[in-house]
């Protein structure tokens, strides 16, 4: 008789980088590992946080800084969590309105998305706006504890600006961003795909830089689990990680791109046209109306060691929380963060050994972490 499957319920937000979970559930990778993976679509990260805390979800698609924020008690309904696997690298971009882009281009912004050059141009635009007493530029991110918030702030700060006083940063749901840009509520935003491509396709936005250029091969979403669930279900978690690693390899294969875009575009997943999903999956980005750019690693899914979390990743996110006044520095917190982003559970589930663990993080402006 066939062995019965262990059910695992996963919450996800309809974004391109839910691909690994979607492929694991839809392409048989979960079943192969004895898991019945049920995906539940959510409407906000707050819901993901609340529903994993009360046990509705066993695991969830999470912004990489969320398990840290929850474990350090920086948000409500905080419970100790782990990030045992990365679900994608890169995938975000910074988009500005076409009118802000015109000003930035006039100030010499690189058309290919170089973050140093576009940041400098932004600083010049802001200086001239200040001279004219023009209102502050308004930027959107999807969550205060997100890669988006930290990438946007890092890019702005690297240009010599203060993201807390030289611009205004607000939080908006990703699917609303492109409309907010079109109506002038926002001048720019940092968001995951396909919501940058959506604004470029609508002719209302221009991509000025992207995550892969700011911090190459950096984690964006992670698999989030409560420490309690991970400790109570070690075998199920290990099987799930193997399933997700297999699914990530499948997502990474170029021959599956069209099939993946089809899966993601369906009404119960992202519910958007496949052609809006494709550019980021293929690494063939339209930055502006007439500017195409090949960015092969724009958004990376890959199984194996590449999806292992590393303490250095957690440390970078925690550094940003401290830098922007969300968290305090302490030895206790640093130790907790290293534990949350430990690769051990993932590597042992996959039987991987001798994986280098201390690769330094190098940002676009040359700073190392």
């Amino acid at each position: 008789m066939e062995k019965s499957l262990t059910p695992v319920i996963a919450g996800f937000i309809p974004l391109l980088d839910s691909a690994v979970l979607v492929a694991a559930a839809e392409m048989g990778f979960a079943e192969q590992e004895g898991i019945a993976l049920k995906l539940v679509r959510e409407t906000s990260w707050a819901n993901i946080r609340d529903r994993i805390a009360v046990g509705h979800f066993d695991v969830a698609h999470m912004l990489a800084p969320m398990p840290i924020a929850a474990s350090l008690n920086l948000t409500s309904l905080a419970v100790p969590m782990l990030a045992p696997m990365l679900l994608g690298l890169g995938g975000n971009a910074i988009t500005v309105s076409t009118s802000l882009w015109e000003d930035m281009a006039a100030a010499g912004a690189d058309t290919g998305g170089d973050p140093g050059s576009t940041g400098k141009a932004l600083a010049a635009v802001i200086a001239s706006r200040r001279a004219k007493s023009a209102p502050l530029l308004h930027f959107g991110v999807v969550h205060p504890f997100s890669g988006h918030a930290y990438e946007l702030r890092y890019w702005i700060a690297a240009a010599g600006l203060d993201p807390d006083t030289d611009v205004e940063i607000t939080v908006l749901a990703p699917q609303i961003m492109a409309d907010a840009l079109a109506t002038g509520q926002l001048d720019g935003y940092c968001v995951g795909e396909p919501w940058n491509t959506a604004a470029v396709a609508a002719g209302t936005g221009r991509i000025v830089t992207y995550k892969q250029a700011i911090w190459p091969d950096s984690p964006e979403k992670v698999l989030g689990v409560t420490r309690k669930w991970a400790e109570a279900n070690p075998l199920t978690l290990a099987a799930l990680l193997r399933a997700l690693s297999g699914a990530a390899d499948w997502c990474a294969s170029t021959e599956n791109v069209e099939k993946l875009a089809g899966l993601l575009s369906s009404a119960d997943m992202l519910g958007c046209p496949a052609e809006v999903c494709l550019p980021a999956l293929e690494g063939s980005m339209r930055l502006g109306r007439n500017t195409m750019k090949q960015v092969p690693d724009f958004l990376t899914f890959s199984g194996g060691a590449k999806m292992a979390p590393m303490p250095a990743h957690g440390k970078w996110f925690h550094e940003q929380m401290v830098r922007w006044g969300q968290a305090e520095r302490s030895e206790e917190a640093s130790a907790a963060v290293a534990g949350i982003f430990s690769p051990d559970i993932y590597l042992s589930a996959l039987g991987l050994e001798n994986v280098p663990r201390d690769t330094p993080i190098r940002m676009f402006d040359g700073r190392e972490f």
Partner: protein, 195 residues
């Protein structure tokens, strides 16, 4: 006398919002304000200056709202209802029911708990209402199918309506199936034969 709390209910679903409003008013809260859309919400919240905010979990703007509470100086700092972890039962009940609440820091728990309990019970009642509506719809559909099956039997075998129904019931009993299943098979089969 303690002044009544002002309660802001944010819910896209107007029917559910008014059900909650009614419940709160019945419980003696006369300062209840409903908001259905998020445009200009910061300004509205600053004007209303609510003590308690009740929001449905389907609302995609919860992240925006929570961020606003963190940074806005115009709004008195509401905090999530759920900071009090000792009350995990309430937390689960609220999330199960699909509702969340934020209260201004410093308010006594005893004053706020009945409001959340009310919201939870009204949310539950609403989803039960919806389920009943669904059931009623599918019952109606079932009845139509059985009527069609009866009609087919009456026409093809020259039976009265009662005889046709009895035949359906007997076949169902003999095959240990439900009447609706037999009726469905019959309607499908007769559709195939007609072509």
């Amino acid at each position: 006398m303690i002044r009544g709390l002002s309660i802001l209910v944010i819910d896209d679903n107007k029917i559910r919002a008014s059900i909650i409003e009614q419940g709160l008013r019945d419980a003696g809260h006369d300062r209840v304000i409903l908001v259905h859309q998020m445009d200009g919400l910061v300004r509205q919240i600053a004007e209303i200056n609510p003590d308690v905010i009740v929001i449905d979990l389907e609302n995609p703007n919860r992240d925006q709202l929570e961020h606003m509470f963190q940074v806005s100086r115009a709004v008195r700092r509401p905090i999530a209802m759920f900071v009090d972890k000792s009350d995990s039962h309430s937390i689960e009940a609220a999330v199960d029911a699909g509702v969340s609440a934020y209260v201004v820091d410093g308010l006594k728990r005893e004053r706020v708990k009945p409001i959340l309990d009310m919201a939870i019970s009204r949310f539950r009642a609403f989803s039960k209402l919806n389920e009943e509506l669904e059931e009623a719809r599918s019952e109606l559909a079932d009845r139509k199918t059985i009527d069609r099956a009866k009609g087919i039997l009456m026409k093809s075998k020259g039976l009265s309506e009662q005889e046709a129904y009895d035949l359906l019931r007997r076949s169902a009993m003999n095959q240990s199936r439900k009447i609706i299943e037999v009726a469905r098979s019959l309607v499908i089969a007769s559709g195939l034969l007609e072509d």
